[in-house]
Symmetry: C2
DNA sequence: GGCCAACTTGACGCAATAGTCAACTTGACG
DNA sequence: CGTCAAGTTGACTATTGCGTCAAGTTGGCC
């Protein structure tokens, strides 16, 4: 089963009539709105005013409501391209890694890297928009995967015993929020801090 | 010199006439607004709507503007009671501690504890309201103190060499934001995470 | 090339919050 | 106990963002 694709619908069927074909102008608008939304969410997070996205797409705010039904629908339509695909790839890679410690370290590094490149990911993590099906699915997949990582780490004795999945989630959110609210740190600083975190996870 | 008090003006001279004596009713309102603001800032952070604070104080919003000149002035008038006093005490304690590691560890633990009890402290840390003189003074004092702590830690070889004051600030902000945006963790979880962080600071 | 369902949109109404002000109320002095 | 400066406030304007809809526009089939 392909965890990467089965919950994603990049085509984003129209809000009103899931099966019907869109008129040419409407299809063009959908494409423009999607790419404007991806750019906007990328830079400003999932709370970017819809009016701004509409302006960037060269349409009116109402068109977004017509085509996507509102912010939730828009998020569902682009979250795959925005973060879900990469996140699933990260989870999958961690799952496949044979060495338990490498699995955890790789996951942490990759996820922090994604978070660095993609501030919107923090919103996803926080589930600011819990009505979005894709976001909920993503969160569930991530929880399941990290539970497994932590379990493996404990079984192999490479992860400090008192470290929990909740601790990992908390650290992820904290890091994402800092990234969002503070000036972007240099890559060097960011990676050093990630190393600190990893060091704090190892079994004594 | 008493770092604890010299930048604080708990009496909060009136907005308009710093020296003049207030009429009895006005003085009563000032007191009520201050305590309502402290309670509100405590629970909801420094962005609590002024109207809400006014309602809690039994006055109209305009009275807050009359007495304090707006949010900035109100913050200046209560931040001391809210966090500055405690923060200065923490900085002072860390400064006095003889053992460099104890100094750092004590500071981290105390500051996290303050942050846990006082969510508004995160707003102060982020300087969401940079116009507030007290907030700026507090931030400067904290920066100077932590610079010193880190320096001492490095000199004594107890703090990992690549750890900087900026890292400490980043970690503090990240923790505060997580505390603000996530459900409050149990004391146990919170303290364990603080221990993780401390462990990651020690020289190898 | 004309019809009409599909589409788009400007203009609304709503809600939350900041900030201002003219008119009213009241504490306190003489 | 009257006067009036000090003080309070309801009502107002402005801003930002969501969500809706009646009225206009247009793609595409005949």
């Amino acid at each position: 089963m392909s965890t990467t694709t089965d919950a994603i619908d990049p085509a984003g069927g129209s809000h009103t009539t899931p099966g019907a074909t869109l008129r040419a102008d409407a299809a063009r608008n959908v494409a423009q709105i999607r790419s404007a939304a991806i750019a906007a969410f990328h830079g400003r997070g999932l709370s970017t005013p819809l009016e701004e996205i509409a302006a960037a797409a060269g349409v009116s705010k109402a068109t977004i409501y017509n085509r996507f039904g509102g912010r939730q629908g828009l998020i569902d339509a682009v979250i795959g391209e925005l973060v879900a695909t990469e996140m699933h790839a990260i989870l999958e890679k961690a799952r496949r890694a044979e060495d338990p410690w490498e699995s955890i370290a790789g996951y942490v590094v990759d996820r922090r890297d994604l978070q660095f490149r993609e501030p919107a990911f923090t919103d996803a993590l926080l589930m600011t928009y819990p009505k979005s099906r894709q976001l909920v699915a993503l969160a569930e997949a991530a929880t399941a995967a990290t539970d497994d990582l932590v379990q493996r780490g404990h079984d192999a004795g490479v992860l400090r015993r008192d470290f929990t999945t909740g601790d990992l989630y908390y650290a992820d959110v904290a890091n994402g929020l800092a990234l969002r609210d503070l000036p972007t740190p240099s890559r060097e600083d960011y990676e050093r801090r990630t190393r600190f975190f990893l060091d704090s996870l190892r079994a004594h």
